[in-house]
Symmetry: C2
Subunit: 540 residues, 2 copies
């Protein structure tokens, strides 16, 4: 509808027709989990515009319950079938825009066809789930898939008082995000009573449960499939249009291999600016802009689509988790060798009530400092920092540039050194060689005895838990007690979040020690659930 309305704004004279296979158009499918949970009280709020609205305001002919079943490219015709009938008619076009979106993937699980196994994508899906909940007195729900929609569903179903289980095939939820950030989300899910099965695959679904491949039985009177989506590219394929790895191929004007046919939104694959190759990005913002640009190009404007950076945010109970660009794991998988740093910085000035830490992880190129990805999780201010970093990334900024960013500060909103600045300071220090760091995932517990692990926190903090074999030398006494350290062995310093560790690093490094600082400090160990590195916590 973005394309259609932009087209009308640009040209009053054209005939613009929209075919929609379903019964609704222009509804807010991002709101569906919240309508399910009752946060959005009236489903009508989801329906942004009706076909009549489009006729009255835009002179656009929206035909619902009409499916385009084939495209005759040579004659410039589409064949349209009235849903539920065999009635087919032909409609001519000069320019055609494909915008069918993506459909929920239904994994090949025994029982997946049962009628209590539902998807959560459309208003009819929402109505179907409601009917199950009320008519059948459902108490237990199993969500298959731990992506964004799955997490929103978990929160909303849990808020309805249901017993919620989530099954994720991978070792952590939110596959685009790194495992250590996802661990914070796992903790929040568990804290709210969601049962989580990770690295788990559903083998069989029956009326009352889901059985996993390892034999575990999960009670489930309703099963929600949110295991990803697939571009609806069959029509384009049948028409002979070029199809990519994940969706219909388009150029920067959203033109397919046929210059009179455009594809936009979840059906099309567009350049991921960091990955450097095309992929379907199933996000509303990019889809809207693509629609606008397709209309622009049809009516002679030359604005080009710039590709995606994958900016995404999700609320999970009291947490917000967000990402832009690529995670470190994804970068590694793609053959990159990035640097990355972690800061745990309050969302606003610590001295002002209500400050909550944000864990912010920023990855960048080893040579240039160019930003490659950022992930954040926390209770407040997460979306702001990811939007700032998304803007920085789209501007081609480096981690050095983050040091200089002048962001708004008053006590309720931020700090004189914003979390984004802090990421810049830490990243800049690493890139300039002023601090060498080690990541918790790279600390092998079996090799700790070959290192000197120095906990520079206070004795009280140390006594509450620390890394195995660590000795406690608080940073404030490090200058006086430096003789307790062995200059011949590498030192790993750490504190709670990384700052005091960095101070200790600077002292030791200038004293000639071979030293590294633990990125993000002990909090990164705890949050990331690096269990081997904090088993001492219970034994001290």
């Amino acid at each position: 509808m973005s394309a259609a309305t932009r087209a009308r704004r640009l040209d009053e004279a054209s005939s613009i027709t929209v075919f929609e296979k379903g019964g609704y158009t222009s509804y807010a499918n991002c709101g569906i989990p919240y309508a399910l949970g009752g946060i959005i009280e009236d489903d009508a709020a989801l329906i942004l515009h009706t076909p009549k609205d489009f006729k009255d305001r835009f002179n656009i002919d929206v035909q619902v319950n009409k499916e385009v079943i084939s495209i005759d490219r040579e004659s410039h015709l589409v064949h349209v079938r009235m849903v539920g009938t065999e009635e087919i008619h032909q409609v001519p076009y000069d320019k055609l825009i494909l915008s069918q979106g993506a459909e929920a993937f239904r994994p090949p699980i025994d029982g997946v066809e049962l009628d209590h196994v539902v998807t959560l994508q459309t208003i009819p899906d929402l109505q179907a789930i409601r009917a199950h909940l009320s008519d059948r007195g459902v108490l237990s729900v199993c969500i298959i898939g731990g992506g964004f929609i799955g997490l929103e569903a978990a929160e909303n179903l849990s808020n309805l008082g249901l017993e919620v289980t989530m099954i994720e095939q991978l070792s952590h939820v939110l596959p685009p995000i790194d495992a250590n950030i996802a661990e914070v989300v796992h903790a929040e899910l568990r804290r709210n009573g969601v049962k989580l099965f990770l690295s788990a695959t559903a083998k069989k679904i029956d009326r009352s449960r889901v059985v996993l491949t390892d034999g575990t039985e999960v009670p489930a009177e309703l099963v929600i499939l949110v295991a990803g989506v697939r571009a609806r590219s069959a029509l384009a394929k049948r028409a002979g249009l070029e199809i990519g790895r994940t969706g219909v191929k388009v150029d920067s004007h959203m033109q397919t291999s046929d210059p009179d046919i455009y594809a936009i939104g979840d059906v099309a694959e567009t350049e991921h600016r960091i990955a450097g190759h095309p992929m379907v990005v199933t996000l509303a913002g990019p889809a809207n802009r693509q629609g606008r640009l397709a209309a622009d190009h049809i009516f002679g404007k030359t604005v080009q689509y710039r590709g995606n950076v994958g900016t995404a945010v999700c609320r999970v109970f009291d947490l917000t988790v967000a990402i832009v660009g690529l995670s470190v794991a994804t970068l590694h998988r793609m053959g990159h060798d990035p640097l990355w740093i972690t800061v745990h910085t309050p969302d606003h000035a610590n001295y002002y009530p209500g400050a909550c830490p944000i864990t912010l992880k920023v990855a960048f190129e080893r040579d240039t400092g160019r930003l490659l990805g950022a992930e954040a999780v926390g209770m407040a201010g997460v979306d702001k920092r990811i939007d700032v970093l998304a803007t920085a990334m789209q501007a081609g900024m480096t981690v050095f540039d983050l040091e200089h960013l002048e962001l708004s500060y008053a006590p309720p909103y931020g700090s004189a050194k914003d979390p984004v600045n802090m990421a810049g300071f830490v990243g800049g220090n690493v890139l300039r060689g002023d601090c060498r760091i080690v990541h918790a995932e790279d600390l092998n517990v079996d090799e700790l005895d070959r290192l000197q692990v120095v906990d520079v926190r206070s004795p009280k903090e140390f006594s509450r838990g620390h890394i195995p074999l660590a000795i406690n030398v608080p940073v404030d006494s490090l200058r006086d007690r430096i003789s307790v350290l062995d200059r011949a062995r590498r030192v790993v310093v750490y504190c709670q979040v990384g700052y005091r560790g960095y101070l200790a690093y600077r002292i030791l490094e200038q004293e000639g020690f071979d030293v590294v600082n633990l990125d993000g400090g002990f909090k990164s160990v705890l949050d990331g659930a690096f269990k081997e590195l904090h088993k001492a916590e219970t034994t001290v």
Copy 2:
């Protein structure tokens, strides 16, 4: 202290001494209004570090109650006086950093020296005000100055149950912001019982009141002077260092005209990147970074200060108001001829509960679209949008770039078309010539009869108030009723916030009309208090 601690991190061997004239160092003066109002419950929270902390952690010698009274540049000595004594000693330096800040300006008002006339800058100021409030049973407070601190003071004193009056010499509060945005702040102040005197000057202060030049008497048992600050550049001046228009002159390494002396923070003037000339920027973020960079330069690092864009935010009761770059009025005053647009867009998806409109005004270069300034006001999400725009501005982005920005969206956080994108779409339309706009301030009510003013909202909206002489042709019926308009006369269309007006513009423009759309719609008229343009509201 930013400079001192960075210096220590870079160099363990140097002797680092800090002289502070007052009794406290490293305290959060941005928090002082909130400590006054009791939101920050314990003043101790404001004191981030004590001299002992600096000694223990950084081996920095912080000497409080010591004033540097002169600099002997030739001998590389400072003369230091113990406050309250005549005891003076000499201290040698290799490198000297001036960081005295700025002091509250005391306007030459009769009675300004009375002891119930106080400033609000330091912990002793805070203690003095508290003593007045408790010992003297103060009920009425007059705040002289409507800048950021004045507004924070108004909110906090009002929350204490005091009768608060604010006097501002200019025609609106927050001088860096445009009048029409400041009007929204005025309404919020009045809604919360703050009495506001604009374009008003205090002539005389006595024990119980402030008398304005027009004879108005304002009850005031306590008077708070927050009428701006002046750089404490006297010491630098006496030492023969170059002084600029507003503070000590420095280069991009924060070096003064003497390469062994640096100046940072509110005492120094640095390049304003949009204004293109140096000025003192009294903000904590820039001051912190300047300190860091001065230390960097002293210890051989070559990072340069990039200048300021003036990103600032302020809470005023339930509102947030923020700015980056320059306001339209300031741009005009400086001889710029910018374009600007206004959007009123919800902070998050309208269909999700709690959405509040943000008024966002973005100014850009007429030829290139380069961003020059952005101002925003609203109940939520204001700081996020200004930080995104601050990042975009620092990256040298144009208004076209805002169309493309991929920002995070989930229903609780934003919209598929973020307010920043909307500003880009509207600004891009204006720059590309797809829409011509007129601003409320440029609509002369006496000339409306030469135009056709067309209100394209619903009859119900129209009946609640409209622009004088406007006729009502709802956009949905405009195509059918186009014949009611006179093709020979210019048409001004408007709706509530600008979008339907834009649709009407596109219809009329393609029909050959000479048409302009009212920027920001009728909401801009109402919010900006353009009284002549909505006097009909009460007469219809």
